[in-house]
């Protein structure tokens, strides 16, 4: 039952974010747009490239969808409203996100085309940049909560949200999260101007619909993770817990989706440079600070 509720709310949230994304990209507010696009996609024929690696071509979008759903499985929407409350929830989230990389490599390699392949390998480069920046802020968050369970992490923020406690970690985590779901300005694997669609380019019809759906699930999962780790999950006065979750997740996902179009795409070399030379030292500093504060201040 909880599974059903979580999935339905995920679907509803994803739909709203898709409406927002099409508003940002195309300049028109059309509430029915995602439904129409999906229906149109399903009606188009599915083209298969010449000499593809069929297994990877088919498996790529599916693995991406599975990775997104597994990540969603550990996000708590309200006390008791979580698909599975693993004791190592935060780490499990990270493990699921690692399979995004596997999915994109498959999707890039499968169609046997240069644009897709370069897109897939570019995502690997992007992964090398964001991998540490996803894990290290989670470490600091778990330090405060003294547990890896996502529910415990939320309840540890009752006195003070982590965004105020660990703002540095928040900034690093959000930047890395945008890299995970390749949102602009970090959309290197599917860059329309550089790679004409890159990883997505050879997918048509129903497979493309699955790929796009999987990406939306991933965006919702990452927004949910940001809210869980830094914005206090379901905590808040007056409104019921699920309402706070919904509002926060929608706001974070909306910002992630729309903020990136105001800056040009980040160069791969530059992204790697700032992630490793600036990001990782800052993440270490964040862990140190959190450790010291946690020992000294009793909240």
């Amino acid at each position: 039952m909880t599974v059903l509720i979580v999935l339905v709310s995920l679907a509803a949230g994803g739909y709203l974010i898709a409406v927002l994304e099409s508003w940002v990209v195309y300049g028109r507010f059309q509430p029915a747009r995602p439904a129409i696009s999906a229906l149109a996609l399903l009606g188009r024929e599915q083209v298969l490239a010449r000499a593809p690696d069929r297994l990877f071509f088919e498996a790529g979008p599916v693995v991406l969808l599975v990775a997104g759903l597994l990540a969603v499985a550990v996000i708590p929407l309200a006390p008791g409203l979580i698909i599975t409350d693993l004791a190592t929830g935060a780490l499990f989230l990270n493990a699921a996100l690692a399979y995004v990389l596997v999915a994109l490599i498959m999707a890039g390699w499968g169609p046997n085309g240069a644009y897709g392949m370069i897109g897939g390998w570019r995502f690997l480069g992007q992964f090398v940049a964001y991998a540490m920046l996803i894990v290290m802020p989670i470490t600091a968050v778990a330090m405060r909560a003294e547990s890896l369970s996502t529910v415990d992490i939320v309840t540890s923020q009752t006195a003070l949200w982590n965004i105020v406690y660990q703002p540095l970690g928040f900034v690093l985590f959000v930047a890395a999260a945008m890299g995970v779901c390749w949102l602009p300005p970090l959309d290197l694997p599917t860059a329309p101007g550089d790679l004409a669609g890159g990883v997505e380019a050879e997918y048509t019809g129903a497979r493309l619909a699955v790929l796009r759906l999987a990406r939306m699930v991933l965006i919702m999962a990452l927004a949910g993770a940001t809210v869980t780790f830094y914005l206090g999950g379901w905590l808040g006065p007056w409104l019921p817990a699920w309402a706070w979750s919904a509002i926060k997740i929608l706001i974070v996902a909306g910002l992630m989706v729309s903020a990136g179009r105001l800056i040009p795409r980040v160069r791969e070399a530059h992204y790697l440079e700032i992630s490793w030379k600036l990001g990782i030292p800052l993440a270490l500093v964040n862990i140190l600070l959190v450790g010291v504060i946690a020992l000294v201040v009793p909240i």
Partner: protein, 171 residues
């Protein structure tokens, strides 16, 4: 047969099957990703054996590592897609002997070692994680710290070796 045992057998079989696919397939990228899924199956087995932290860690690390291996294969190997009909294997006899000896050694260790009594009461996952943390920072700290330093040194050295020659040549 409890469900746990059934799943253990299934994932164990999957791990072995993916391992066989690693060297039976012609495509190198498929080989790397088959190894990845073999390790994922091992990670799931850890989860089934209620070693939750270890299982999740195994699943996470192996995904990353095997993907990087896949790109190295594409970089350095001829015909990474396996589309050519040429046989790309080398040293077949050596591999067979090494594999056979390794199998015998592993089986010997499994059957002849004294694993101690079976622990029937497994602490729950949160408690396991906490105990693991204490172990890392207490008794095993030296091992892990020195391993971490060695890995860091290796990374720095590899990067320096890779950059240095071309710096002289190009710039």
């Amino acid at each position: 047969m409890t469900p746990q045992m059934i799943f253990l057998v299934f994932f164990g079989g999957a791990a072995v099957w993916f391992g066989i696919v690693v060297f039976r397939t012609r495509s190198m990228v498929r080989s790397a990703l088959a190894l990845l899924f073999s390790q994922t199956a091992v990670g799931v087995m850890f989860l089934l054996m209620q070693a939750e932290f270890l299982g999740v860690l195994q699943i996470m690390m192996m995904a990353t590592e095997m993907s990087v291996m896949a790109i190295f294969m594409v970089m350095f190997m001829m015909d990474p897609g396996g589309m050519g009909a040429m046989d790309m294997t080398h040293q077949k006899r050596l591999s067979l002997w090494a594999g056979g000896i390794g199998l015998v050694a592993a089986l010997a260790v499994i059957w002849l070692a004294d694993w101690g009594p079976m622990g029937l009461l497994v602490p729950d996952a949160a408690e396991q994680t906490a105990q693991l943390g204490r172990e890392l920072l207490d008794r095993s700290m030296f091992i892990f710290e020195s391993a971490a330093l060695m890995i860091l040194t290796a990374m720095v050295a590899a990067t320096m070796v890779a950059i240095h020659p071309s710096e002289g040549r190009k710039r």
